[in-house]
C-alpha cells in the first residue's frame, strides 16, 4: 500500500509571466535571461532545471528552499496545474501528464495561497469537495464533521468563509485536501501565517495522517519545520536540487557542523590563512570583512579566534556561533541565507 512520487529531469521554462497555476507569489528572477530587443521571447524564466526526485510511499518529504527556488512549480507539475517543458512526473504508477485523471484521484493539494470557495460555508466546502470525489452524502457529512472538529473549526463551521481569519482559512484548506483521504498530500508552505500553537496542531495532524501510510510532500522555507517533520529533505535553489537526504544526514554533511560567523575590522588573506590553521577548522570562507568558519566545535574556538584576529592587526566586531542546522547547510551550498 501507499503511493510514491517520482520525477525525472523535470524542467520548466516560463516564456510569459507565470499565471495563477504556478501559485508563485514572489517569483525569483535569477533565472531570467536577457535577450535582444527584437526577440519576442524577451521573457524567459527557468523555474526548474532538472529536478529528479524519488519519494517513497509513506514518506514525509520536504522541499526546502528560498522563495522562487522552484518548489511551487514542482508541486504545480505534480498536481496537473503546470505543464513541464520536459521531463517526467509520476504519482505512483501514473504519469501525471498522460493520465491526469487517474493521478488526480490519488492526490490532495493545499496551495500556498488560500483558494476557498467564497460562496460557501466551511461545512459546505468540505461537503462539496467530497461530492467532487463521488463520496456518498452520509459519509461526506461524517468526514466533514470529523475534520472540522480536528481542525478546531466546529464552532464556526456554518459561517461563510469570507468572514474567516487567514489562519482559519489555512486550516480549512488543509482539512479540505484531506476529505477524500488522498494517498498523496501536497502542502505548499502549509504553516505560513499560522500562529505557533496552530502550527503545532498542524504538525500533529500531518504526522497522524502520515501514520496511516499516506505520502506527504511539503514545501517550506522554515528550517525547523523541515527538520521537525520530514523524513527526508531536498534543498532546492535556482530550480535545482543542491542536497538531499534525511535531516540528520544533511546536517552531518556540513563540514565541521558548526558555523562561526565573524565580522572583522579588515579582512586579509593572511588572516584567512591563519584562521584556517586553527585546530578543528575545516573550511574558511571570506567575503570582505565577513568571514565564515566551518568547524567541529563552536564556543571553544573563540579564544583562539580572538587572538589570531588581534595578532593580524585588526579587531573582531561581531561573532555569531550556530550549531549544525539546515540553515547552515543552505548557506554552505549557496553562499546565501535562506531568508535573504
Amino acid at each position: 500500500m501507499g503511493v510514491g512520487i517520482t520525477t525525472k529531469e523535470l524542467r520548466k521554462v516560463y516564456t510569459s509571466p507565470p499565471p495563477m497555476a504556478a501559485g508563485v507569489a514572489g517569483f525569483g528572477m535569477m533565472g531570467m535571461r536577457g535577450t535582444g530587443s527584437k526577440n519576442k521571447k524577451a521573457f524567459e524564466i527557468v523555474a526548474l532545471d532538472g529536478i529528479s526526485l524519488a519519494i517513497q510511499p509513506g514518506e514525509i518529504f520536504g522541499l526546502l528552499g528560498p522563495n522562487g527556488a522552484g518548489k511551487s512549480t514542482t508541486i504545480g507539475i505534480l498536481t496537473t496545474r503546470v505543464r513541464p517543458t520536459s521531463g517526467e512526473a509520476r504519482i505512483g504508477e501514473y504519469d501525471v501528464w498522460r493520465q491526469q485523471v487517474e493521478a488526480k484521484w490519488l492526490i490532495g493539494v493545499v496551495q500556498q495561497r488560500p483558494n476557498l470557495d467564497f460562496s460557501l460555508t466551511a461545512r459546505e466546502i468540505l461537503m462539496f469537495h467530497g461530492a467532487y470525489y463521488g463520496i456518498g452524502s452520509a459519509e461526506r457529512a461524517r468526514r466533514a464533521a470529523a475534520l472540522l472538529e480536528r481542525f478546531q473549526l466546529t464552532t464556526r463551521a456554518d459561517e461563510m468563509v469570507r468572514s474567516y481569519s487567514g489562519g482559519m482559512m489555512q486550516r480549512l484548506s488543509i482539512a479540505r485536501a484531506m476529505v477524500h483521504e488522498p494517498e498523496v498530500l501536497f502542502l505548499d508552505e502549509p504553516s505560513t501565517g499560522l500562529d505557533p500553537q496552530t502550527k503545532l496542531l498542524l504538525w500533529e495532524i500531518i504526522r497522524e495522517y502520515n501514520a496511516r501510510g499516506k505520502t506527504i510532500l511539503l514545501t517550506t522555507h522554515n528550517m525547523d519545520e523541515a527538520d521537525e517533520l520530514c523524513h527526508r529533505i531536498a534543498i532546492v535553489d535556482h530550480g535545482r536540487i543542491i542536497a538531499e537526504g534525511t535531516p540528520a544526514e544533511l546536517k552531518a554533511s556540513i563540514p565541521g557542523g558548526y558555523l562561526v560567523r565573524l565580522n572583522v575590522g579588515r579582512g586579509s588573506p593572511e588572516l584567512i590563512e591563519r584562521l584556517q590553521r586553527l585546530p578543528g577548522v575545516t573550511e574558511v570562507r571570506a567575503d570582505g570583512n565577513a568571514v565564515d568558519l566551518y568547524a567541529d566545535q563552536g564556543g571553544a574556538l573563540i579564544g583562539a579566534i580572538v587572538s589570531v584576529v588581534g595578532e593580524s592587526g585588526t579587531e573582531l566586531c561581531d561573532v555569531h556561533i550556530s550549531e549544525p542546522s539546515l540553515e547552515n547547510l543552505f548557506l554552505h551550498h549557496t553562499g546565501r541565507s535562506l531568508r535573504q
Binding site: 495563477m20 491526469q100 488526480k104 470525489y133
Partner: protein, 258 residues
C-alpha cells in the same frame, strides 16, 4: 468524463445560485422589465408607437436578457475565480478532465439563460397586458432557437471570462456588451435597418441579431415585418456557438494550466 464529479459541480453552482436568488433575479429582471414598461406600455399607450410594437419588443427583450444573463453568469465568476479568489482551483483538481469543468460552466450558464428568458417572457406578458400577440404554434423551432441562444450566451461568457482581466470588466460592458445590445435588433426588427444598408450588413456580425430575430420569427411569425429566416438564424447561431465553444475551451485550458 466522471458523471458524479460533473453533477456535483452543477449542484454546487445551483446551490450558490439558490443562495443568491434575489440578487440574481433583480439583476436579470429589473432592466428588461423597465424597458418593457417604458417602450411597451408607456410608448404604445400614449400612441407614440403602434400597439403591434409590443409583439416586436418582447422577443427582443427576451433575447437580450438571455444573452446578458448567460454571459454574466459564466464570465463574472470566472474572472474573479481565476484572478482574485482562485476558488476554482479546488474544482480544477477534481478527478475529471479540466475541460469538463468548462463544459459544466457552459451548462450552468445555459440553464440560467433559459430560465431568465422564460421568466422575462412571462413578466413582460404581465406588464404589457393584452395584445402582445405571442404564438406558440412552433414549439420545436422555438425550443431550438432558445437552446442555441442560451448556448451562445454561456459559451460567450466562457470566452469573455477567460479573456478579460478583472481591471477590464467595465470595458467589457461598454465596449462589447453595450454595442451588442444596441445593434442587436432588440428594439427593432432587422428589416427596419433597410434604410441603412451598410449598417444592416454590419450588424449581421452581431450574434444577438440572430437571437432577437430567431425568437421573433418563432414567437410572432405573423407580424407585419419580415424576419430573418429561421434556417439562417439557426445556422448562424450554430456557427457562433461552435466557434465560441472551441475558442472558450482553449482559453479556459490556457488559464487553468501554465
Amino acid at each position: 468524463m466522471n458523471a458524479k464529479t460533473f453533477l456535483a459541480m452543477l449542484a454546487r453552482d445551483a446551490h450558490v445560485a439558490r443562495r443568491n436568488i434575489w440578487a440574481l433575479l433583480t439583476q436579470t429582471m429589473l432592466q428588461p422589465l423597465l424597458f418593457t414598461f417604458v417602450f411597451g406600455r408607456v410608448m404604445t399607450g400614449s400612441g407614440m408607437m403602434p400597439a403591434s410594437y409590443k409583439g416586436m419588443l418582447v422577443p427582443g427583450i427576451m433575447g437580450m436578457s438571455m444573452v446578458m444573463t448567460g454571459i454574466q453568469a459564466v464570465s463574472m465568476p470566472l474572472i474573479a475565480e481565476f484572478q482574485f479568489t482562485r476558488e476554482i482551483e479546488d474544482r480544477l483538481l477534481a478527478p475529471m478532465r479540466i475541460e469538463w469543468l468548462a463544459v459544466e460552466k457552459i451548462l450552468a450558464g445555459m440553464i440560467q439563460a433559459l430560465v431568465s428568458g422564460l421568466v422575462v417572457m412571462l413578466a413582460a406578458w404581465l406588464v404589457l397586458g393584452a395584445g402582445v400577440g405571442l404564438s406558440f404554434q412552433r414549439p420545436l423551432l422555438f425550443g431550438l432557437v432558445m437552446l442555441l441562444v442560451a448556448l451562445f450566451s454561456a459559451a460567450g461568457g466562457l470566452m469573455l471570462g477567460c479573456s478579460v482581466g478583472q481591471t477590464q470588466i467595465g470595458l467589457m460592458f461598454s465596449l462589447v456588451l453595450a454595442p451588442m445590445i444596441f445593434f442587436g435588433c432588440v428594439y427593432y426588427p432587422w428589416s427596419a435597418l433597410s434604410g441603412f444598408p451598410i449598417l444592416q450588413k454590419l450588424v449581421l456580425l452581431n450574434p444577438l441579431v440572430y437571437a432577437s430575430e430567431g425568437l421573433r420569427g418563432t414567437l410572432v411569425p405573423q407580424s407585419q415585418y419580415p424576419h430573418i429566416s429561421i434556417a439562417v438564424v439557426a445556422g448562424a447561431l450554430a456557427v457562433f456557438d461552435a466557434a465560441l465553444i472551441v475558442g472558450g475551451l482553449k482559453k479556459f485550458y490556457g488559464k487553468a494550466v501554465s
